[in-house]
Amino acid sequence: MLKAADQFVRERERILQIILDSASDVIVTIDQSSEIVHANSAAYKVFGYTASELIGQPVTHLMPEADRERHRSGISRFLRTGQPLKSWRGLRFNGLHRNGHEFPIEMSFGTVQRPDGTFHFTGIIRDVTALVEAEDSRRQQLGDLAHRQRLLSVGEMATGLAHELNQPLLAICLQADAAAEQLRNALQRNTPYQPESSRVAIDESVAGELQEGLTEIATQAQRASRVIRSVRGMVRRDEASKTAVSLARIVSDVLPICEHCCEQGGAKLIVDISDDLPTIIADKTLIGQVIANLVQNAVTAIQSVPRQSRHVWLSAEEITGDRIQVEVRDSGDGISPESIDQLFTSFYTTRSDGLGLGLTICRSIIEAHGGNIQAENAPDCGAKFIFTLPVYCTVRPTHG
């Protein structure tokens, strides 16, 4: 009878071992002195040690030096209080491979109380190197976008400044030139051929210096304007590189960013872009930036509606006049009549965290591509941002 029970237990242990070994995650059990009492075969693939090599070793061998103390204090806190410090699920740590290489892991713990009252801890460990790399590259992509946006903001600001400053600079130029001219006329009247009565009391050398000074003022005003222009030129040279490209391609490049953004805002993104739209000539990053920006705005705009009705639609179609029309629509409350006219104005924003440059930049980009952009309220609900771009050629893009 006892023998049969023994056999039953052994059979169960064998099955358990098979189950544990078939897991791709590492499953390690330690006692309360942190000594490894069991490990599955995945440990070899992830840490470089076989299960039998690990048994009897302190689990801290599998952690970088820096994490070991934290592990020990976590265990002792649990033993003292019976409470884990934080939820023991999906924790991110670094693992230490046999070859000394550190890698990111995600870990969950379970505790088992033994008949003798001591505890065993089981950890399920997943190597998340690939996941972290993907996250990093996404973060990088978003960072690049932010960098580009900053550059574009500089360009947009330079454009705004160019306009604002060239007005007074023009006034300075013309006033200085006109004053110099008046002085010249006054001096000409002082020649001996002119009647005494029309002469002006003015010292000729002083007048000459004044004239030079005035002309210099105009010259310097022009120089100041060139400085602003060169800032714009610099930003622009960096940014614009137009090629023949399909809209579907632009959208597919920028889709991860749009999806990420919708995910963050709890919105559903519905994309309807056909592959056979005609080619356009565009800087694909810039047009992508416009699309990303409009989607981002849409997501922000629908935060006030319940999560299940947060939708963002991105679509494109060919319209008459050899143009492609791209539309970003949301299911929010729409745009208030007082802001609809000012949406594309620099530094206008309805958000407390915004600079008010996003749409201005969008407009600059679209206009630089020979298109135009506008906002309106959709008839049913929500806001609609529409931009058009001229078609480069009606030859459909070839696939592949």
Binding site: H163, E164, N166, Q167, P168, C173, D177, A178
Partner: protein, 203 residues
Amino acid sequence: MDDIRIVYIVDDDPAVRQAVGIVARALRVEVRAFARAEDFLAACDESTTGCLVLDVRMPETSGIELQRTLNAAGVRIPIIMMSGHADVRMAVEAMSQGAFTFLEKPFRMEELSRTIEEALAESHSAIEAVRRNAEIKSRFESLTHKEREVLDLILKGKTNREMALELKLSLRAIEDRRSRVMKRMETSSVVDLVSTVQVLHNI
């Protein structure tokens, strides 16, 4: 032609209006300045002459829009377009809509003076052309029905003899009418007559 030496300035910036005004007055030109496109539109009509110094970028109606409105309304005044930011596209658009020229801010007095003089000269010759066309038209309208018949046949290159046959008139009567046509149209030769009448077709 002193009556057309008027420079209109449309710019939302008072400092620019004043400065452009000073330069224009130095040319002994009458200056009328407006802060908004609408104000200028209210003050002008088809008979407006002179030249218009116009800012591209203004808060309400842009310079390009004003230019379009003027074109549609048949106001033919040479436009000197000013832009504060080197915008090639806008320059192309303004020029393709028939702007006289495009100046990039900030420009110097000398350039503005020269441009205004050229634009006024253009306006002057355009007015001359209109006046001449009107004159020719009124001369043509003073012809009697019978004289027009002869004029038609002259233009078709018919000889006096052919005309006499066609109109069933004596050669003498044809010669009479012919000389009356030449006199009324104030032309001295057939070549002259043809080129004068040509103007009528172009109006």
